[in-house]
Amino acid sequence: MLTVSLQHALPGFGLDVEFEAPPGVTVLFGRSGTGKTTVIQAVAGLLHPDRGRVALNGDVLFDTAGRHWLPPHKRRMGYVFQEGRLFPHLTVRQNLLFGQWFAPRGAKRESLGRVVEMLGIGPLLQRRPGALSGGEKQRVAIGRALLSAPRMILADEPLSALDEARKAEILPYFERLRDETGIPMLYVSHSAAEVARVATTVVVLQDGRVLRQGTAAEVLSDSAVLPTGVRAAGALLEARVACHHADGLTELDAGGVPLFLPQIGQPPGSPVRVRISAHEVILSRKRPEGLSALNILPGTIEHIRTGGGPGAMVALQTPAGRVLARVTKRSAQALALVPGADCFAVVKTVSIAPENIGGTR
């Protein structure tokens, strides 16, 4: 458990945050310029905050009140930087082993072979970072952090320098990190899709303050706190793979409701989480018939939020979990959508993009 309490003056605004990161992956979620990176740098010891205290499992990393400051090299935080920051004069193998050298003897450590296998970087070991692609660099950076026997992994927007295809390539490794190593992680991101994939806990930051803290499913389905605007709103459903069909579809069991997705790799029985973007959901008062969409979730309207624009955000309680739907105010009126009303959420199978489907423990 990491406990963080920080105050720091930044150009334009003051950072004042207090939160706890339980085991698992805690995502610091917010727009750029809300102080996320400042928080993670202070935890790593790369930035000296004006005031604050950070402790990991009761071990104080710094406490400005007690004038206590542990230098970064003694904190044993595995930092994965935005731009990789591999050492250009060392081979991939030497980069990976760099941290292991300095790790204390008794520390619980990962073996090189296991990390190399997990990240799929075996063929790269003898190369130098200059000859690697962006995605490969980032995988090596993850491995390097992991092999330093860290007490915690800090990941500062590790995917933001990559294109969409590379992001999709790296994200599964963070999921494996979460599910297979048990090392707690603090992960900075401004992408709702990333949060949906990796987060156990979400801390939403806005203008240097903690706006909301909760589990991933809770926070993501609450459109009021989403920092990235309504376009990014979407619900997170926990489901289990039921079976794979011969026509290229995978059937999930989400709280008793079948959900059809384009085929995924996970074997039947394995748990997955699916993010359903609010603007991909259609609402209907009656169970629709003669419709091409395969996924129909029955539910009850929980609340409706409207703003200045023409849109309305409808939250629907379904057996699969809370679903968000973005509709127009006009349709909300025409359908007489009010809290408590029964309703059906319709989701096209093909609208569930692969980057919104992730494995989970």
Partner: protein, 218 residues
């Protein structure tokens, strides 16, 4: 061969100081940095004879530093060690300049990354910073060595040109040219001088290229 010895020791002694000074000037932020920068460059812009005379004033047996050193049995004036001191001081600014450039090119972010991986300041320097500035250090060393070999004005002013004692290659050439019939000997020494300078340059190019290829990361 006295020249080689003088230049070798001059460069060797000046090197750690030059690396340190390069870091101070590249990374340090303190009042009077420009003044320090100017002071370091002084030997480069002053007439060498002036530098030599200043050395004589300071390090001569009657000078403030030379006098103190004499108490503990070290005499620099008119000794080969004095020639090394003069050569080192003249070479110093060139070495600092070359090393400073490479220090400024090192990404401090990489040093941060090394720290998060558990490397203390000293280890960060040894495993990350030093390998990355090595091309600059080598270039600075060769440049400094060449300057030390060629140093004439300050040396002859400070330690004169005593054969077998303080007569370096340039001052020997100069002396030979002062006497009738000395041209052949002067010419011989000139060729030696060219050979030494060229081989030093080639060696440094070779080393720098190998290291650059390694650091460039392929």
């Amino acid at each position: 061969m006295l020249s080689l010895r003088v230049s070798f020791w001059a460069t060797l002694a000046a090197l750690p100081l030059a690396v340190w000074m390069a870091f101070v000037l590249a990374r340090g932020r303190f009042p009077g940095k420009q003044l320090l920068n100017s002071a370091v460059h002084l030997p480069l812009i002053l007439p060498p004879v002036v530098t030599g005379y200043l050395l004589l004033l300071l390090f001569g047996t009657k000078g403030p530093i030379g006098g103190a050193l004499q108490q503990i049995g070290i005499v620099l004036a008119f000794r080969w060690t004095g020639a090394a001191l003069a050569a080192g001081i003249m070479a110093f600014p060139l070495m600092v300049r070359a090393i400073r450039l490479s220090v400024e090119a090192v990404d401090p972010n990489l040093e941060q990354a090394a720290a998060t991986l558990g490397a203390s300041k000293l280890w960060v320097f040894a495993t990350v910073t030093l390998p990355m500035i090595l091309p600059g250090v080598i270039a600075g060393t060769v440049l400094g060595f060449a300057k030390a070999m060629g140093e004439f004005g300050a040396t002859i002013t400070f330690v004169s040109s005593i054969p077998g004692q303080t007569q370096t290659l340039p001052s020997a050439i100069y002396t030979f040219l002062q006497v009738p019939g000395g041209e052949t000997a002067a010419l011989r020494l000139t060729l030696v001088s060219i050979a030494v300078a060229l081989s030093a340059l080639l060696l440094s190019e070779l080393l720098a290229r190998r290291i650059a290829a390694r650091v460039g990361g392929r």
